[in-house]
Symmetry: C2
Subunit: 210 residues, 2 copies
DNA sequence: GGAAAATACGAATATACGCTCGCATTTTAT
DNA sequence: ATAAAATGCGAGCGTATATTCGTATTTTCC
């Protein structure tokens, strides 16, 4: 194991070694997130990021090879948060009813999307996504969560992956649409989404001919 | 009724009057769609659009005030197609089972999204969306369709709008996710989505305590 | 035929911004 | 103390490209 911290993949050009530079990188990412949220991807300029971070553009490019890498760093930070939120809702729910479990899931997802909605929206709808393969660690973990929920809810193993994909896409679709309209806080919406999810999971446990 | 065709809103600068200019506009939109699909929003340049369309940039700017307006024109064209697809699935289905009606709906939506997937993706994930209010004619018509389906499926009027929003967002979420993975053609996916929708509608017609 | 309107042209302009590079400063190591 | 490494600086270069504008051509209409 190398003693030095190496730059991860191509997201960083050089890894910060000293305390000072670590602070610089933090400041840059912090500022970048704020500017991305405020101005959107189109108005996201490295010069302004550096200015707001209180460092020079030169320093910025010492750690990030380009603009996109900076956005990627922010995205990763966010995805980790989403995953963490999902993990919380995946505890020992053995004793809970389907509805309770579903409500937990939805609360988690909604909560994760409620923090910094503007940034979220930009990250989601504007920043060109680096070709994200289904091999992506996040994707895998994410689907895994949903598959667990599907299995727990329907009690069947077969078709679990497809069901998980459909379910996750549906939930995200509803949550994202709500986020765009600023209605993420609405309990009525959460309840309605809960009905959708519950109904689906129940239908899978007693399938009809089709 | 004005004899002359007027430029719609701010999407056009000048309305084409003669046959010649109508052909020009068509060629521009056509070329723009191709380039948008091929190069994405970032690589979408008006100069190339003009070149591919076989006209000059000057002509382009005679009919479109800016780059975004051009993309908007394309988006509108697509939205109209989606709406048309939805309308087809909303005919006289009185005699059909819920599953049949749902299958029709999904077939329509999937079909609308199957045409020119690359363009679709760019339009959806890259082109900055002009603030689309819920007053938008398309949004209204779109929700209306879903509300009809909800009403027909669940037989209740109450909560129809919320249900329509949830349902449409869920369907779009699944379809878009599938489009991103290039799995729109999969019958298994359509079937699974059908189960989701049917289960939801059924659950609404015999509600549980909640 | 001729005037006016519509359409077409495309070189040139204006601007914005990503990113580099040479050098200054600070920290670490010996 | 001093060399070497790490970090920081920011003016400016290079480029890309959206948009304009003066002019040329075509069509319409009388």
């Amino acid at each position: 194991m190398a003693t030095r911290i190496r730059a991860q993949r191509r997201s960083m050009r050089k890894a910060p070694q000293q305390q000072r530079s670590r602070a610089t990188v933090d400041a840059i990412v912090e500022a970048a997130a704020r500017i991305l949220a405020r101005r959107g991807w189109a108005g996201f300029t490295t010069n302004e990021v550096a200015a707001v971070a209180g460092v020079s553009v030169g320093s910025l490019y010492q750690y990030f090879p380009n603009k996109l890498a900076l956005a990627e760093a922010i995205r990763r930070r966010h995805l980790d948060a989403v995953l963490a939120a999902l993990s919380v809702s995946g505890g020992d729910d053995e004793g809970l009813t389907l509805e309770r479990r579903v409500a937990r899931l939805i609360d988690g997802v909604v909560a994760a999307h409620s923090v910094n909605q503007a940034l979220h929206h930009v990250l989601l709808d504007e920043v060109p996504l680096t070709p994200r393969s289904s091999q992506d660690a996040f994707e895998i973990e994410y689907l895994q969560r949903y598959q667990t929920i599907v299995a727990a809810g329907s009690g069947r193993r077969a078709g679990g992956e497809l069901a998980a994909r459909v379910l996750s896409a549906a939930v995200e679709g509803v949550v994202h649409a709500a986020a765009r309209r600023g209605e993420l806080g609405s309990p009525a919406l959460k309840a309605e989404l809960g009905k959708l999810v519950s109904a689906y999971l129940r239908s899978r446990s007693r399938p009809r001919g089709g």
